[in-house]
Structures are given as C-alpha cells and as structure tokens.
C-alpha cells in the first residue's frame, strides 16, 4: 500500500485527529493539567501548520513537502466527481485556520492550570479545526456541509465548556438554536439543488456552468444554502445572534469563533457560489424567470454584493454605538465579514487574493484582540471600554500590541490590515462595473471604523484612570511589572499576543511572500479550477 499517496495529503488532518484522541486519552488517564493538554493542542496545530506551509512551497521546509508531493492542484479529469480535492487556495485557508487554532491554544495555556474543562476545551478546539481543514478540501455539497457541521457541533460545545456559567450556557443555547436553524436551511437548499442537478458534487455542478434548466428551483436552492451559511458567516441580516454569542462565550472561545469558525461560513459560501458564477458558459443569458436555460450567476452576485454592503455598514454603525469592549469588537468582527465578502462576490483572481489576504489578516487581528481582552479581563478590568482607561500607559507593551492590532483593523498603512484592504479595494476598482461601488462602500466603512478604534486608543493611552478604579490585578500592588515579565497575563498568552503584534507589523511592512503565495493560489484556483 502506497501510504504517502493515500495519507500524505491528509497529514495535517491526521495530526489534528491524533492530537484530539491523545488529549481525550490523557483525560481518561487523569492527566488534565492545562499545560499538558494545551501543549498537545498547540503542538499538533503548529506541526500541521508546518506541513501546510511546506506544501505551499516554502523552500526551507521542502523536506516536509515531499511527504505529500504531487497531490495539490492536480487537474481533475473531466467527468470525475471526487468528494474532495486538494488546491493551493484550500491550503492557504488551512494555514489560516491552523494559525487561529495554534494562537488560541497557546494563549489558553495561561488559564488556571487546574481548570476543569481543559481537556474538553482543547480536544474540541482541535476537532473543530479538523472540520475546518476538511471544509477547505470539500468538492461535494454533503461533504462540505458535514464538515461545516463538525465545526458547528464542536463550537456549540466549546461555548458551553465552562459548564457552570449561566451566561456562556445561554450563549451556547442561542448559538445552538441558530446553528441548527442554519443547518436545516443549508441541507434543505442542498436537497433542492440535488433535485435540480441530480448530483451533489460541486465539480458536476460546475460542469453545468451556472446555466440551468430550472432557474427558480436552483436559485431557491442556492438561496437556502447561502442563507444557512450566511448565519455561520454572520452576514447581515443573519447576524443578530452573533454579538450575544461572542459576548457570552468564554473570551478565548470567542477569539476562536471570530478568528476561525466564522471564516468557514465564508469559505463555504465561496465554494458553492463559485460554480454558478465563475464557470459560466460564454453566451449564457436571459432572465432567471423566463424559463429555459439561463445563467443565474448575476442574480446571486448582486444579492451577495448587497449583503456585503449591508454587513459592513450595519456592523460598523452598531460598533460605534457600543460601550462594552467585547460587544464593540464583536460588531467590528461582523463588519469585517462584509469586507471579505466583497472579494468573493467579485470573484476575479485579484479580488480573491484580496479576500484571502483579508482573512489572513483578520485571523491575526481578531484572534489577537480577543486574546488580549481575555487576558485583561482575567487581570480584573471591567467589561466597559471606559474600564480600559490608562491601560496603555500602565502596561505599555500590552497597550502597544493591542494598539497595533486595532490600527491594523482600521487599515492604517504599514500594517497587515492596510495591505489586505488595499489589495481588496483596488481589485474591486479594477473589476469595473458596479463593483467600483463596493470599493467605495468599503472605503467609507473603513473611514467610519477608524472612529471607534481611535476611541479605544484614546481611552487606553490618553485618559487618566480614576484612582479608585484601578484594576485589582497584578498591577495594583504598586510595583509595575518589569517589561519582560508577562505580568499576570501568563507567559503563553503574552507570547501569543507578541507573536500576533509582530506578525501584524512584519507582514504589513513586507507582505510580498504571503501576497505572492496567495496570489498564485488564487490564480490557480480561478484558471484551472479545483
């Protein structure tokens, strides 16, 4: 048996599964310390990440790439209908998801070492990441939706893992109801598509190239499917649950939800959207309601474009109105989904590059800010933005790291957020047509978002804390922690935050390698197809 051709490309998935099983085994054996289980989770994620980076052609790791050589971007024979296919764009996304899981696992090791839910937290974290990796290789509707469900089921339970906290349990219940509703919608939509196409395979559906004989049925199918996935991706008007869940969930879990699992929805929308829009036979035309063979791509495109603008605007406006840090960041996370959707809607190779880069940036920024919030909350700082007064002056390193993430979210030059927005919006302008307006909407929204990020920066660096409002954490003892000490955050969390801050700047100043890899992957995806 040729193990490398069979198991080689699945190495990241196998590593994650092995990590999950090891953690559960350790739990059964009574080894439950957070340092041990966390190290397994972070280690498995990091190793898997190395494989993915190697497969993407990062020269120093070429020896790892040999293990799965020749399995990525293999052209699919016409008529073949495999359930999964390895593409370099999928690999980029695997890298994004693994980064989120690695950072969250690393930072979570700083929680109290006797925390009871640690094994289940890390086990489900790895399992959810495994589901995400499977989403990136899916080329079959049922395979895709089942993988999305692995992520969903794991994350419902992750939100509830504290087990005694009413707020997170209620968040879990809300998450579950909305999640189950969206699952039902997706599967019902998939069933209608199966009725119209006679297959659930995305390659077979792409072969029809968006020109279908039963346009209303297909549109309805895509409508249900995309509505279901839009819940997972928190697109307006399917966003109402997200802020409550992000707010109520344990903050480390929120970091994973915004950094990782929400992009699953976006990627899944992208995969199902791709068929009818990008692979349209030339000359197909006509209105969807006139019967006969018509091209349904433009209808879907306009609908998603409207959703993108709505998502950006509503998310940003509501973020402006928030007084609590976590809720403000949750709304800003919703608006970020709108930016990413722009690239998916346009669907050209530069736009796809922009959207992927935006997700790459977002995984650092959004995971980062919530990891900081989790750490700062553990230090005893309250939930309001005003509770953060003076934090930047008293904890300069933490303040600077958090500030960098916020600047990047706002899209200030020399940060990763600027690069990704630049690539994205310029691709929209390049694409002409009404897409230019998407760029305009995106720019206006970016400008709007500067207000609330700047407000946080002002509170942190320029407002004096009221003397009696000093947080009672490590800082309150009078002795300032030294610059090198993690100062109550815990070394693991401090490392994760530092890594993120460095990444945000480093990739912002020198984005070429990442940009090149993503752009290659996107071009390959568009021209060859997965």
């Amino acid at each position: 048996m040729d193990l490398s051709s069979f198991a080689g490309p699945f190495l990241p998935e196998i590593l994650l599964l092995a990590g999950t099983l090891l953690i559960f085994l350790l739990d059964v054996l009574g080894i439950r310390r957070i340092e041990v289980t966390g190290a397994v989770a972070a280690g498995a994620s990091a190793l898997a990440l190395l494989f993915v980076v190697a497969d993407l052609g990062f020269a120093p790791l070429a020896f790892l790439a040999n293990l799965s050589a020749g399995q990525v971007d293999v052209a699919i024979a016409p008529g073949a209908t495999p359930l999964y296919a390895f593409t370099s764009l999928g690999l980029v996304f695997q890298g994004i998801f693994l980064t989120a899981s690695f950072l969250v696992a690393l930072a979570s090791m700083s929680r109290p070492s006797n925390e009871r839910g640690a094994p289940i937290f890390f086990g489900l974290l790895l399992l959810a990441t495994l589901g995400m990796l499977l989403v990136t290789i899916a080329s079959d509707l049922i395979f895709l939706l089942l993988s999305v469900e692995i992520v969903s089921i794991s994350t419902y339970l992750l939100v509830a893992y504290t087990r005694k906290d009413v707020r997170s349990l209620e968040a879990a219940m809300k998450f579950y109801i909305i999640g189950a509703l969206s699952t039902t919608l997706s599967f019902f939509g998939a069933s209608l598509l199966y009725g119209a196409y006679g297959t659930t395979n995305l390659f077979a559906i792409r072969a029809v190239a968006g020109s279908v004989g039963y346009p209303v049925l297909v549109l309805l199918g895509y409508g249900f499917l995309i509505a279901g996935l839009a819940f997972k991706a928190t697109l307006v008007p399917f966003h109402a649950w997200a802020v409550d869940v992000y707010d109520g969930a344990p903050t480390d879990v929120t970091a994973f939800l915004t950094g990782g699992s929400k992009k699953v929805g976006l990627f899944a929308i992208f995969l199902v959207f791709l068929g009818p829009v990008l692979f349209v036979a030339p000359g197909a035309g006509g209105s969807p309601f006139s019967g006969g063979t018509v091209n349904i791509g433009p209808v879907l495109q306009v609908t998603l474009a409207i959703l993108a603008v709505l998502t950006m605007t509503v998310g940003n406006v509501l973020a402006l109105l928030q007084k609590e840090m976590k809720r403000m960041l949750a709304y800003s996370s919703i608006s970020q989904a709108g930016y990413m959707l722009i690239g998916i809607v346009i669907g050209t190779s530069p736009a796809l590059t922009g959207a992927t880069l935006q997700m790459f940036a977002n995984v650092f920024m959004k995971t980062g800010v919530f990891l900081v919030v989790a750490g700062v909350t553990a230090l005893g700082v309250g939930p309001l933005i005003d509770d953060w007064k003076g934090l930047g002056t008293r904890r300069p390193l933490l303040g600077v790291a958090f500030g960098l993430m916020l600047l990047s979210l706002a899209g200030v030059p020399l940060t990763l957020g600027f690069v990704s927005k630049f690539v994205l919006f310029s691709s929209a302008v390049e694409a002409q047509g009404y897409f230019v307006w998407l760029a305009v909407a995106g720019l206006l929204n970016s400008a709007l978002s500067v207000f609330y990020y700047a407000r946080v920066l002002k509170v942190m660096f320029f407002d004096r804390p009221e003397p009696d409002a000093l947080p009672t954490g490590a800082v309150a003892g009078g002795s300032e922690p030294s610059l090198l000490a993690a100062g109550g955050l815990g070394y693991a969390r401090a490392t994760a935050i530092a890594l993120i801050a460095v990444a945000v700047v480093a990739f912002g100043v020198y984005p070429q390698p990442v940009l090149g890899a993503i752009s290659n992957a996107a071009q390959h995806f568009i021209h060859v197809g997965p």
Partner: protein, 105 residues
C-alpha cells in the same frame, strides 16, 4: 405509484419544512424548538429521497445515501442540544428560550 407527480411529494416536504421553520422561530420551550428542528430536518431528508427516487440510474442512490447520513447527523444534533439544555437547566432551573435574558438582546 405512477400517477402522482413529483410536485405532490415535494408539497408535503415543503409544508413540513414550513411548519418546522415556523416552530423554530416561535416556540419558547427549548424541547419544542428541538422538535421543530427535527420536523424541518425530516423534510430535507424526504426531499433527498424523493428526488433520488424520481431520477434515473445511480444518481438516485446518492439521495438515499445522503438520507442515511442525515438521519444519523440529526440524531447527534438532538443529543448535543439536550446536553446543552440539561447543563443550563442545572444552573438556571429553566429551559425557556425567552427567559434566557442574561445576555442583552
């Protein structure tokens, strides 16, 4: 089983789906929400089976295979929902969705 058109079958499943959708959106008791979810899932599964039965060749088998997987999936989903609600009931003493008011709406 010859004269009944496909649309007759789908009328049943879409009606069931509509009932389930309505139930998910309006019921207050979590168990009722779960039941509504199951009704809607059954509608989706029925759809796969109909479309499979009405298509020719092996494509129709896929519909039944999906149905098998989905039946297993839906049962798992119910179990997870009940686990969450039992945990919530233990700390809070109610499983009413409307009374879940610790979070601001």
């Amino acid at each position: 089983m010859t004269a009944l058109p496909l649309v007759g079958f789908v009328a049943l499943s879409s009606a069931l789906f509509a009932v389930g959708l309505f139930g998910i959106l309006t019921r207050r008791n979590f168990i009722l929400v779960l039941i509504a979810i199951e009704i809607a899932m059954n509608a989706a599964i029925l759809n796969f089976v109909y479309f499979g039965a009405f298509s020719n060749g092996t494509a129709g088998l896929t519909g039944q295979a999906v149905a098998v997987v989905l039946i297993g999936f839906a049962a798992t989903e119910v179990a997870v929902g009940l686990a969450i609600v039992l945990a919530l009931n233990r700390v809070k003493g109610t499983i009413n969705v409307a009374q879940a008011n610790e979070l601001k709406l």
